[in-house]
Symmetry: none
Subunit: 223 residues, 2 copies
DNA sequence: TGCCTTTGTTAATGCTCTGTTAATACCCAG
DNA sequence: CTGGGTATTAACAGAGCATTAACAAAGGCA
């Protein structure tokens, strides 16, 4: 689970990072609203822990802006005890939960887990490509409106292609995408999965580039 | 909106009653766990505000008892600042939210509204889904007019699905819904309950999404 | 209270779907 | 024609889920 921690107090941030790391969260820490926005646009996160007292922008207005930009991931607000009105407007701005400073780490953990569970699967992110509609979090795929049932590995493979459309992906790259770096298979598993994908999605979806790898869709310029 | 306030401190209770009345809530105030249980069995309430420091019974154990009796209405816990562990177990016992004393009335109001919004539709009203009529407050279920007898856990499971229609619920999420945060069972109890539900409601009601969890009804059309 | 019924959990077993391997057939370039 | 790369297919092992039975616990009733 990937958490974005937005907190300008270094001491609190360090403590939180350590505590969350212990629970096998992957934590990215930023200290400003600007950096937080950048981080959101660059990578994938499952939740945000947001301190309201940021140096460059008010947390509440930042949150409102994010919500307007269709970021619908769960947000847990941290705030100082004496700013109740701010907290209320925090909830109104679209926070899913909030916590008063100083807080107990166990409590933060409990609320965070609860948030993540509540929000799992609510993501509406749908990728589209040539009549193909893909909802990764639901393992749901339709081809021209017809539902297609994909297994996990097939979905992972398809996503690897959708993340790099019209680019040639080597078998080696695909192997890393499916199994993680280093830890791989020792056979033609990738080939088999590609074959199965082609059976389910039509053989023209994935093209072979002999000697190099595979590509989703047609080449850019036949020059 | 009908609120049951369980609080033994007369001063706090009076303040809360006045504040909530200002917001057009109807508040019934009791000072003991025993009286609270009576009140719940006698009348209808939309939410409970529960102080943990009651004279006759621990608030957490009271809450657990209520949850076992299928009172699934939203509960907001009030508790003293220095008892964090108690608060955590309060969440585990099935509280929907909690607030530290001393609290701000505006904050209480905001959380209460948020709670009621979240739970709207799950109380009082009869829930209908594909020939299924469910009355949560009376634990009554009919399928195409035919009464179906559900056990407590089965009802809790069905409600978890009805509260999240057409969404995939992981076994972990369902476990939390039935047993509270963290503290769960160590076997395939969820699977067995799902199997039993399917026997009583028909096997097409709950679908399996392999590797992710279960879902009530058909998937949304992503198109 | 003690018996009996209902409910909840555990554990064992079987079944279906997946992922990987391996063997074989195919294809294109040199 | 030949060899390296790719496609196809079948078989196997394992995971995940369904099913069932047995046991424990809780609640009703006399």
């Amino acid at each position: 689970m990937h958490i974005l921690l937005v907190e300008d107090d270094a001491q609190i941030a360090d403590g939180l990072c350590a505590a969350l790391a212990l629970e096998n969260f992957t934590v990215d820490h930023v200290a400003t609203a600007t950096a937080a926005e950048q981080a959101l646009s660059l990578g994938h996160f499952d939740a945000v822990i947001l301190d309201l007292g940021l140096p460059d922008e008010d947390g509440v207005s930042w949150l409102e802006r994010m919500r307007r930009q269709q970021h619908d991931l769960p947000v847990l607000i941290l705030s100082a005890r004496d700013s109740v009105a701010q907290k209320v407007s925090g909830l109104q701005a679209g926070a899913d939960d909030y916590l008063l400073k100083p807080f107990d780490l166990r409590e933060l953990s409990a609320r965070l887990h609860s948030l993540l569970r509540r929000s799992s699967g609510r993501s509406t992110h749908v990728i589209e490509h040539e009549g193909l509609m893909v909802n990764p979090s639901h393992l749901e795929v339709t081809l021209h409106g017809v539902p297609v049932n994909l297994a996990r590995r097939e979905m992972a493979l398809l996503l690897a292609f959708l993340n790099n459309p019209k680019r040639i992906l080597s078998a080696e790259y695909l192997q890393d995408a499916l199994y993680g770096l280093g830890d791989g298979v020792e056979s033609n598993a990738i080939n088999v999965h590609i074959y199965n994908l082609r059976r389910k999605l039509g053989s023209s979806m994935i093209q072979t580039v002999r000697g190099l790898g595979f590509r989703l869709g047609v080449p850019d310029e036949p020059a």
